[in-house]
């Protein structure tokens, strides 16, 4: 079982090991065998609020010590998923298992206080009438006082808020409050830590800094964490695996690389990173598009209309007076130049170029696309959504 404590506290390791045993005695009836490598399982979970389904047939697993992100647009049901895991909502059907034990199923339902699931809310929800110290100590009721104080100190040091122990939440900035919220949730050794849009309330540079901080803390604490966000960059940076949720349905689960390079559906492709879609037609072994012909070995029959996904880094351009495309826009982004190119058909593609390459608007160019692999989606929605990569 994971032992959670700060960096230079090796001598305390032994003493705190017994704390793990005590975590089981805090009244949480859960979770004997965390040697089980799966921390959380959702199986065919459905949820509605008296109307249309908010969560539909949701199934996934989160491994022990894994950082798992649920990514999707507003209203896709990701916060509801979190609340189902935490126990604040009850699924209409399906099962939720923590550490192999069912906490929500047709025959059983465990209330939140018994699940050992920590949660950091979007607005942190620190208790305004308690000091930072008292907030962090809140979940450690069953521990003897000296032990409790020690854990609180360790946790506050881990999140870098040691000097603020006596302060009150309203005296802290957003980032500081978030750290305290983290420390509070981590103190009682939760099986899973849930984070609801943790960085949405921070400004940009705070966000970057806190991402790194949180990443460090999660690794150090060796906690299984589930992070809910609508920010793809955030999910990619922090998570080991990402699940894409759209209108309550799971579109894809995979590592960030898998999702980025091999999106399972058009929605995923468009949501994660920038993507343009170009019309094409399959022929035996290839797919023909306006900008060229690419090898294709997917399952779609020849002569099917498809949309090819092209990312800006797949598209290259070269000035060419005979080129059929023209530069429509240039966005300077500091690290790169993003060009919008209008093809002769009127379609617009984007190309990522080094920041020093500056081409004037209206310049005719020749477009070359070289995707590492072709991701093609059939235009007819009735056909299987299949975009198997071809080895290249």
């Amino acid at each position: 079982m994971s032992i959670m404590f700060g960096r230079n506290l090796a001598p305390d390791r032994e003493r705190l090991r017994t704390r793990d045993n005590m975590a089981y005695n805090t009244g949480r009836t859960v979770l004997r065998n965390l040697d089980n490598s799966v921390a959380l399982t959702l199986r065919q979970v459905y949820k509605s609020f008296g109307g249309p389904l908010v969560i539909e047939d949701l199934s996934f697993q989160v491994g022990h010590k894994e950082v798992f992100a649920i990514l999707g647009p507003s209203g896709c049901g990701k916060t509801t998923t979190l609340r189902l895991i935490a126990g604040f909502e009850r699924p209409d059907s399906g099962e939720i298992l923590l550490g192999g034990q069912a906490v929500a199923s047709p025959s059983r339902w465990l209330p939140p206080e018994k699940r050992g699931v920590g949660i950091v809310f979007q607005d942190y929800a620190l208790f305004p009438h308690l000091s930072v110290e008292q907030n962090v100590a809140f979940g450690l009721r069953s521990f003897p006082a000296t032990q409790r104080d020690k854990i609180v100190r360790i946790m506050l040091d881990m999140v870098g808020m040691g000097q603020y122990a006596q302060r009150y939440p309203h005296e802290l900035s957003g980032g500081q409050q978030q750290r305290v919220a983290l420390a509070r949730s981590l103190a009682p050794c939760p099986v899973v830590l849930l984070l609801d849009e943790p960085f949405s309330n921070l400004d940009a540079d705070m966000r970057t800094q806190m991402r790194q901080e949180v990443q460090r803390i999660l690794k150090e604490a060796e906690t299984t964490a589930i992070l809910v966000t609508h920010d793809q960059e955030e999910a990619f940076i922090l998570a080991d695996r990402v699940a894409l949720l759209n209108a309550g349905q799971l579109e894809q689960v995979g590592t960030p690389e898998e999702i980025y390079h091999h999106p399972a559906t058009r929605f995923v492709a468009g949501f994660v990173g920038e993507a343009d879609f170009l019309d094409g037609r399959t022929t035996g072994g290839t797919v023909e598009t306006e900008v060229g012909r690419f090898p294709y070995q997917g399952p779609l029959a020849p002569d099917t209309s498809v949309s090819i996904m092209l990312r800006p880094d797949d598209v290259d351009l070269a000035p060419d007076p005979q080129g059929e495309a023209v530069i429509a826009q240039r966005h300077f982004r500091g690290s790169e130049n993003l060009y919008a190119i209008r093809l002769s058909s009127g379609k617009v593609l984007h190309s990522s170029q080094p920041s020093t390459v500056i081409l004037p608007l209206g310049q005719p160019v020749r477009v070359q696309a070289a995707p590492a692999h072709v991701v093609a989606f059939p235009q007819d929605p009735n056909l299987t959504q299949d975009a198997l990569p071809t080895p290249s």
Binding site: E113, G118, A125, H129, G139, S142
Partner: protein, 539 residues
């Protein structure tokens, strides 16, 4: 103003989500409390069962209906007047740079300590056609002042002595409000007046509605002021039935009509409450509230505060002191009434504790576990507040003497009567306070292993503290003023300041009434000042 509306943040999660079933710890006491509140209704139904055609005929005659209409009109105008006054004064004392803000905060709430049966006397004595004011103006040739009796007088009296209900409610809301929507509005080009009307006022809706509800029901149930100012209200009709014909059937029938009126008022308030959430969901350190500089408007503002305090507080005290002095110079000995004072304080304290404790589950149920049942439970608690005290008293006589004989005419039953009559004050205050606490707090506590009762004790109730204290203060002095139930249900010999006042004013012995009246006001100052100061320091 989309940005501003968005800033008011009705989140998708809260819209349409059905809350979980409430835990028994909260549901059971709340339902019990509501059931207790229904005793007066049960009594009224039993009594009206024997109503004959005569009774119905009397009920439906033109005059009764006219009285009903007049009463409704009075309730409406008083509610409107107190709302305007309450909101204005609350805003002046919380959000502007009015000089001596703290002092005004305390003083402006104090008129609640004046019972309506004293206030009415005072107003007539002071402003009657041949009252004190007329006598002061007599050298100027003023023979007779215009009549204050009837609708205008009743309206003024009720407004003056009940506006603090709205003031307290709104003040708490203003202090706890998130300033972001206002700032958003100002940045979008709204001037102060526009911001107030379009952003601040809508956010204050539940608070205004809660205060106005108390005022409306109080107006319906009041007998002291309307009888002294000669306004024939519906409650007055009820008393006539008891007075003249000892006909409890007819009185009960009339009281049931009053209950229907109450239900209508409750419905209106429910609509006015709105469904938005009002707790702060932005993060970061809590910014201090924006203070509006008054500039030269300071003087009119000070004048209006001063005038209100003068009319509603200084005047009664002055008139009472005058009577006292007058009596003493005519040879009346000063009779100190410490016994009744202690009784009043004791009964009020016990009642306050019980009432606040009873209000907590009802408020939690109403706010955190919204459902038709919880709404019904919460609404039911208001019935007792709207009924004239005599009806509640007789209802408890009916049930008490039959089903709770050992408790009959003990302090316990009297306290119970107070609960039935005044619970809504505490419920309203607790509710308003709870609305400003994010439910995430409680969820965070539960995720940290705290059980439902544990969360209530460690998180919910401490966060409600301010609202509960406000409710407690309000309840304390309302119980001190209570009269009809005390007369009938108190243990024999248990005299309170209210009964002392009544027994002397009833015989015109004003000098003797002045002492208990002044004592009542004095004793009531203590919890009110306490409350007001705690309110201030908490800001």
């Amino acid at each position: 103003m989309e940005a501003v509306r968005l800033a008011l943040a009705i989140t998708r999660r809260d819209r349409g989500a059905r809350p979980p079933r409430p835990p028994t710890l909260i549901l059971a006491p709340a339902v019990l409390v509501a059931a207790a509140m229904l005793l007066p209704i049960a009594y009224l139904v039993v009594r009206t069962a024997g109503a004959g055609e005569d009774a119905i005929h009397l009920l439906l005659r033109g005059r009764t209906l006219q009285v009903l209409a007049n009463t409704a009109l009075l309730a409406l105008t008083v509610t409107a007047a107190t709302s305007v006054l309450g909101v204005a004064l609350a805003w002046l004392t919380v959000r502007t740079d009015l000089p001596l803000r703290r002092l005004w905060s305390v003083l402006l709430v104090l008129p609640l300590v004046v019972p309506s049966y004293v206030g009415g006397f005072v107003l007539v004595a002071a402003f009657g056609p041949r009252g004190m004011l007329q006598q002061v103006l007599a050298p100027l040739g003023v023979e007779r002042l215009p009549d204050i009796y009837g609708f205008p007088g009743a309206m003024v009296a009720l407004t003056l002595f009940s506006y603090p209900y709205v003031l307290l409610s709104v003040r708490g809301a203003l202090a706890g409000m998130d300033p972001s929507p206002e700032e958003a509005a100002r940045s979008l080009g709204c001037d102060l007046r526009s911001t107030l009307l379009r952003v601040v006022l809508p956010q204050l809706r539940p608070a205004i509605a809660a205060g106005a509800l108390l005022v409306a029901l109080y107006t319906l149930s009041d007998f002291g002021a309307v009888s002294l100012l000669q306004f024939e209200s519906f409650t007055y009709q009820i008393y006539i039935q008891y007075q003249g014909s000892f006909d409890r059937t007819l009185a009960a029938l009339f009281a049931l009509v009053l209950v229907c009126l109450t239900v209508a008022v409750l419905y209106a308030e429910g609509r006015a409450r709105g469904r938005a959430k009002y707790y702060r969901s932005t993060v970061g350190s809590i910014r201090p509230l924006p203070i509006v500089p008054l500039g030269r408007w300071r003087w009119p503002a000070l004048a209006s505060c001063g005038l209100t305090v003068m009319a509603a507080l200084a005047l009664p005290i002055f008139v009472l002191a005058f009577w006292l002095v007058q009596g003493m110079t005519a040879g009346q000995p000063l009779q100190l009434v410490w016994g009744p004072a202690l009784n009043s304080a004791y009964a009020s304290s016990v009642a306050t504790v019980v009432i606040v404790a009873a209000a907590i589950p009802v408020a939690i149920l109403a706010v955190r576990y919204q459902s038709p049942l919880s709404a019904l439970v919460e609404r039911t608690t208001y019935i007792g507040f709207a009924l004239p005290g005599i009806v509640v008293a007789l209802a408890l006589v009916f049930f008490g003497v039959r089903y709770a004989t050992p408790l009959y005419q003990t302090l316990a039953m009297l306290i119970f009567a107070y609960v039935v009559r005044f619970l809504p004050q505490a419920v309203g205050a607790a509710r308003a306070s709870l609305l400003q606490v994010s439910p995430r707090m409680e969820e965070a506590a539960r995720s940290l292993g705290s059980s439902v009762p544990g969360t209530m004790a460690r998180i919910t109730i401490p966060l409600l503290r301010r609202g509960l204290l406000a409710g407690a203060g309000l309840v304390f002095l309302t119980v001190m003023k209570e009269l009809p139930a005390t007369l009938i249900l108190s243990p024999i010999g248990f005299e309170t300041l209210a009964t002392s006042i009544w027994s002397t004013t009833g015989e015109g012995l004003f000098a003797r009434a002045a002492v208990p009246a002044l004592l009542l006001i004095l004793v009531s100052f203590i919890p009110m000042a306490f409350m007001a100061m705690d309110d201030q320091s908490g800001q």
